[in-house]
Symmetry: C2
Subunit: 381 residues, 2 copies
């Protein structure tokens, strides 16, 4: 037993050096009553704030208070079930919670994350249900003259069944990439849970990179590892939309999927909503289901892409070609809310049918996870 | 154009709110001369330190100095090509670099990461070569009575060729999980680069979770999201080793692989080295290639698992059954160096042949990436 103790003591000492002898704290601590306690050891700080978009709602960051041991803490009120992102500000320095090993990147910033279960977050949490596979695979894009990284979710049972499956294509927003829906959107967990509870049909979900100038998420390509930014220079080039049928062709050549319009859905958020709008109108025979979440619904008149030209005529052709469902979801606080209303008036005037979901809230992943959770059960019926 | 400007201005304002109006800094900046500059805005701090194991080498953290704008900075000497993990300490608070979007978790701590290219880090960087796929898939473990998450790398061309491929099984160390070799070990990049340059044969790499009490990496299972720790209570239960043939059986039933001993390799680091040692000796007909990196070579006499019993006899049987290569790599600063020497003396006495690679350095991912890069080209020849 001496030997094992030696090994363990050594491991513990390695662990302790790595932690710089700072006291171990539990943070965040999600309490049974749904309050959450945050703690950080900062003995010489004069101010510690907690920044969390979903908690603040205009009231500004929460203020932590220090105890005699140099540990700052604050406990929230009981919180709605949700996935939360946060960070501290210690004397104006943005600081990730050093006791939280669970972090997530949103565009150029990294946040600590936690879940308050017991409500809608249960849709996003990993539960003891059959799990699909998640695949990062590269495909060739002849029109973009490169190979590109793609994220594919295949449902539990895909590998062993002989069935062909329908496919949902899911596009991220500005500043995102092929990992955004998987990480921030919790797509694999949402699909696992909806399929296990028979609320959704088993389907593949394909998450492409919607930035035509990128081959992969930052850090996953040979491009320099610079801090990711919101606005890509080619945002309105039309190249993503033009090249998109290559994604569909790749998936249909590589995976065991159904290849008819009624078995293909396309959805996206924000910029990716615009992609879904434009791609589906340019390819009226491709997608039986289309959804736009908090979507950009316009592009500059000068946008060079052929895909943006004659757009009303393209919408008419899409209407004529027919579709199973056209779904529009947006929150009343969204900065694109008026844009969405204007676009819907155009659709109304054309008698272009759609289902409209208006929610509270704004341009947030909280809404986008909700819209996905609501849209996916409507598919392939 | 007014419309697009509105959209862009709004996006930029969202981005700016998210960044709390803190000045944008480039950090870390890898300079052309291989020095690296770190910067952080901390106007009211009285001390800012840079912690980086590979930089410090016993000399302690580096000290940043403040300019009149409240920006602290430090520039290193020219650094060896490597993948580096670091964090700041701002007035004793562990702080991730807020300007670095590239972070990585090692056991319970998150670090900023960067690469100094132009040498061995080029083996780990994403390069413009054909890329394999990375798959997260769940398999059933009858003996552990659960399903478990597994990471599989398939080489470029796997999906379209008709060939069967050999397989390298790769085990992580204490505190790790099925993501450790992929993230910290850069397995996919190392394999992509070695295969593209024809230094290695195309092969699958399978990274299982070596903690019998875990079904998946922290945050990827339904277990509570607690800070990951180094020592798992079942570390010497023998359950991981006993259940391991189920991983092989799953891979051989699901993937297009060769199923003979000469087409199977097993390697691991630290605790995973011990797993490789024990699994291969208990299954002398399974693996033609075995490697142990910085390996634990012993277990407590009281360890309950049948897999640890009569071990010398098992090694004799493994020797008799034969193998292509038994590879031992360790650094002279490793805390397991003496243990490794003792074990090698036993092998020598038994005339159990092995290749021995002694390097500088200790129990580090830097060494483990090097060992992988050296071992993989020896496989399946």
């Amino acid at each position: 037993m001496a030997r094992i103790l030696n090994v363990i003591i050594f491991f513990l000492s390695v662990a302790s050096v790595a932690q710089n002898r700072i006291p171990e704290l539990v943070s965040p601590e999600v309490n049974a009553d749904r309050t959450v306690t945050f703690r950080i050891y900062a003995p010489s700080a004069s101010e510690v704030l907690l920044e969390c978009d979903l908690l603040q709602k205009g009231s500004g960051p929460m203020r932590l208070t220090k105890n005699e041991s140099g540990v700052w803490s604050v406990t929230t009120v009981a919180l709605p079930s949700e996935m939360y992102l946060y960070n501290f500000q210690v004397d104006k320095v943005r600081t990730l919670d050093p006791n939280n090993a669970f972090v997530i990147r949103d565009v150029g910033n990294v946040f600590g994350m936690f879940f308050v279960p017991g409500g809608k977050a249960d849709d996003y949490l990993v539960r003891d249900v059959p799990h699909g596979s998640v695949i990062h695979v590269w495909y060739d894009s002849p029109s973009l003259k490169t190979n590109r990284r793609l994220t594919v979710y295949t449902p539990a049972g895909y590998e062993t069944s002989k069935e062909n499956y329908p496919v949902l294509y899911l596009q991220h927003g500005a500043g995102g990439d092929e990992d955004a829906w998987l990480q921030l959107g919790r797509t694999a967990q949402i699909l696992d849970n909806l399929i296990a509870s028979k609320k959704a049909k088993p389907m593949l979900v394909v998450m492409a990179n919607g930035n035509a100038g990128q081959t992969a998420a930052p850090g996953e390509s040979s491009a320099p590892m610079k801090k990711p930014v919101f606005i890509q220079p080619d945002m309105f080039s039309g190249n993503t939309e033009k090249a998109y049928p290559e994604v569909v062709a790749f998936i249909e050549s590589r995976f065991r999927v159904k290849k008819d319009k009624a078995s293909r859905a396309l959805a996206g958020l924000s910029m990716g909503g615009m992609h879904s709008l434009v791609i589906s109108a340019n390819n009226p025979e491709l997608f039986g289901y289309v959804a736009v979440f908090s979507s950009a619904m316009l592009w500059p008149k000068e946008a060079p892409g052929e895909v943006y030209k004659d757009f009303d005529r393209k919408l008419e052709a899409q209407k004529k070609a027919g579709y199973k469902l056209y779904w529009i979801g947006i929150g009343t606080d969204d900065f694109l809310f008026e844009q969405s209303n204007t676009f819907r008036k155009k659709l109304d005037a054309m008698q272009f049918k759609y289902v409209y979901k208006e929610t509270a809230g704004g341009h947030t992943w909280s809404n986008w996870r909700d819209y996905l959770t609501e849209f996916v059960p409507l598919l392939f019926r």
